[in-house]
């Protein structure tokens, strides 16, 4: 199996670096840490279809990052894109919002178990910030409990001291606990009576560079009770997990009911929209927050979102994703073992995390991932992966073939 070359990507990066800070900034940039060594990864894509994208050098990849999550049905899904194009003919960014916004909100309220209303924005970080502000408005309190290692976006409050442009004052109302440690949460609630507005977390711990951890038994039920008893808003950042565990929301999957739920990624199959869903009791509070943006009521993504939700439901929800992920990771573990490596898989199968054991520097794991990417299976080093509905037997078999070739290359 020949390995890929990225000459055109490199040429384009030279151009990009002249006019774009860092060439490619943020999570898709080569400095982010998920592309090690960066020589193994393409910088720019040319086009995409279904489970695949093609880079500017013509190399084809199965995308197990699914564009970092948004690609849930497959790239260019015909039903979603048809809905988007039809809406485009009628209008998109208009002075009064399209009524399709109501349709989308109704679709979400009818889909997500805890939702009585939906508020739309563009990115996951928009709605995590809105969730915090809504909780503050509802409680007239300042503090938020967050779980160490969770990612909630890039607003200053979500980052750490030492990150560029972040002030200590912006973090001064954050309180941090370790994942799955109920006692720490309870202890903070006792320490700051009447001061905590919100507890925010992802539904399970899917941080980078760490084994992903599901909630311990009764964890969420105890947190729910604690929040209710102390007037704390329970906000779930379902941006990454949303619709990959349960169409009704990840709180529903884990058997509790959140007060606020943040959705983005899988919401519209790549069309740019995010949503904060809330319980009735927080309707007035969210109304008290002035929060908006130039493109937040654009109609095309709403139409795409409706089509995406309907199609996912028609396909039976994330069961198919879970099954594919489970089968694939089981075979990857076996394959690794047959080549003398222990592969550790964690998290939900539809968005699994993996690493090679006994490799504290992760350099061996990075070499394996690099060999996979250079052969057309786009994994990344330290982030959870994603499955989408367009991945079938063909992709499954090709992935295993490449993974084995890559293991052999690492072993050599």
């Amino acid at each position: 199996m020949e390995t890929y070359q990225y000459n055109k990507s490199k040429e384009l990066f030279q151009r990009a670096a002249k006019v774009i800070p860092g060439g490619v900034y943020g999570h898709q940039g080569p400095a982010n840490g998920c592309f090690i060594p960066k020589e193994a990864f393409p910088f720019f894509s040319d086009h995409a279809e279904g489970a695949y994208f093609w880079d500017v050098d013509g190399n084809r990849f199965i995308d197990y990052m699914c564009a970092y999550g948004p690609n849930i049905l497959g790239y260019n899904d015909p039903d979603v894109d048809h809905a988007a194009m039809e809406q485009a003919k009628r209008g998109n960014c208009t002075v009064a919002p399209s009524s399709v916004m109501i349709d989308f909100a109704e679709e979400l309220v009818n889909t997500v178990a805890m939702a009585d209303w939906a508020f739309f924005a563009k990115n996951g970080g928009d709605v995590t910030s809105l969730a915090i502000m809504t909780a503050r408005a509802a409680t007239n309190r300042k503090k938020t409990i967050l779980v160490r290692g969770n990612y909630h976006g890039v607003a200053p409050w979500t980052q750490g001291l030492g990150c560029g442009g972040v002030l200590a004052e912006e973090l001064s109302n954050n309180l941090y606990v370790d994942w799955n440690d109920y006692d720490q949460v309870e202890s903070l609630v006792k320490k700051y009576p009447g001061e905590i507005a919100c507890f925010m977390s992802t539904p399970y711990w899917h941080g980078n560079f760490v084994e992903n951890q599901l909630p311990e038994r009764e964890y969420w039920q105890k947190i729910r009770k604690l929040c209710t008893e102390n007037g704390i808003v329970l906000a779930i950042d379902d941006v990454r997990c949303g619709f990959r565990l349960d169409m009704e929301g990840s709180d529903h999957y884990f058997g509790f009911k959140a007060d606020l739920m943040c959705f983005c990624k899988a919401l519209a199959n790549g069309w740019n929209v995010s949503a904060l869903c809330g319980a009735e009791k927080l309707r007035n509070a969210v109304n008290d927050v002035f929060f908006t943006g130039s493109y937040w009521m654009s109609a095309i993504p709403f139409a795409a979102g409706i089509a995406t939700l309907r199609k996912m439901k028609k396909l039976g929800g994330p069961v198919m994703l879970m099954e594919y992920g489970k089968r694939l990771t089981t075979e990857l573990v076996k394959l690794a073992a047959s080549r003398g490596f222990e592969l550790i898989v964690s998290g939900a199968p539809s968005m699994w995390y993996m690493r090679i054991a006994d490799d504290p520097s992760l350099m061996l794991h990075q070499r394996w991932i690099a060999e996979c990417v250079k052969r057309g299976v786009y994994f990344t080093n330290h982030h959870n992966h994603f499955v989408n509905y367009s991945m079938r037997e063909k992709e499954f078999n090709f992935t295993l073939e490449v993974a084995d070739e890559a293991l052999k290359a690492v072993k050599a």
């Binding site: 030279q14 940039g29 400095a31 840490g33 060594p37 001291l161 520097s361």
Partner: protein
């Protein structure tokens, strides 16, 4: 915003610590210490203590107090920092008879250091000068980084959440390398043959290191170009990345 105590630690354990590299790399400095065998101790009240040892034509730096022929005392971190800026003199508690070394050779050595670290821009056109400038800048930056992490108020907060592991920073095609050992609340420069690193940061060449360290090429773009290579356990690298910009603030 700089903190005077942190600055004193950086000035002594980051900047003066690199005087041995000046003595090794610069012919003029090398000649000045030939035949001079003595130790200078720098003691800063409420701050760092360290010694520069000159022995058999070699200079080395040692943290902490010890037998010294010349002892220089500073009443406060501010006092030491003013001395480093040439605006104050130390209090000499021992070694008045050897003051000639301080006023002549030692002063010349620090001037050679300044010659390379704060260069006349025209000199940087010369490849051999640029090489020494880059190597010294590299050492000062990474030694100072550990001091920022231990003594700057924000650096201390960043270090509280550091992951455990050693990072190697190096310039390829040379033997220039610094190993930093991190753990929650602690960062130190360690011997280069210590534990296996969990993370590596390598500049592709002296010229590429020069471009990045002088700010002519930003770090992120350099990674994209392959002029800086990173591998391993990135959370350790991220801690270093958070502290490195603070080093610039102190050394500017």
């Amino acid at each position: 915003m700089t903190n005077q105590t942190a600055k004193a630690y950086i000035n002594l354990n980051g900047v003066l610590r690199c005087l041995p590299y000046v003595c090794a790399l610069d012919q003029d400095a090398k000649e000045r210490i030939q035949g001079r065998n003595l130790t200078i101790q720098f003691k800063v009240r409420n701050g760092p203590i360290a010694r520069l040892v000159f022995e058999n034509g070699v200079c080395r730096f040692e943290k902490g107090k010890g037998k010294s022929q010349i002892k220089l005392n500073f009443s406060s971190p501010e006092h030491f920092n003013r001395m480093m800026e040439g605006r104050a003199n130390p209090s000499i508690s021992k070694g008045l008879l050897k003051i000639g070394f301080l006023t002549k050779e030692f002063m010349q050595l620090t001037k050679r250091m300044e010659y390379y670290l704060k260069p006349n821009p025209a000199l940087l056109a010369d490849a051999s000068f640029r090489r020494i400038n880059t190597i010294l800048t590299f050492y000062v930056a990474f030694h100072s980084l550990a001091e920022v992490g231990m003594h700057d108020p924000v650096g201390v907060q960043v270090m509280k959440h550091a992951k455990r592991g050693a990072l190697i920073a190096a310039i390829e095609q040379t033997d220039v390398m610094v190993r930093l050992k991190l753990s929650p609340g602690n960062i130190e420069v360690a011997a280069v043959d210590d534990d296996s690193p969990v993370c590596k940061l390598r500049f592709a060449s002296v010229d590429k290191a020069y471009e990045v360290l002088s700010g002519k090429l930003d770090f992120l773009t350099a990674i994209g170009f392959g002029d800086v290579r990173m591998e391993g356990f990135m959370p350790v690298m991220q801690t270093v990345e958070h502290i490195l910009p603070m080093v610039n603030t102190y050394l500017a």
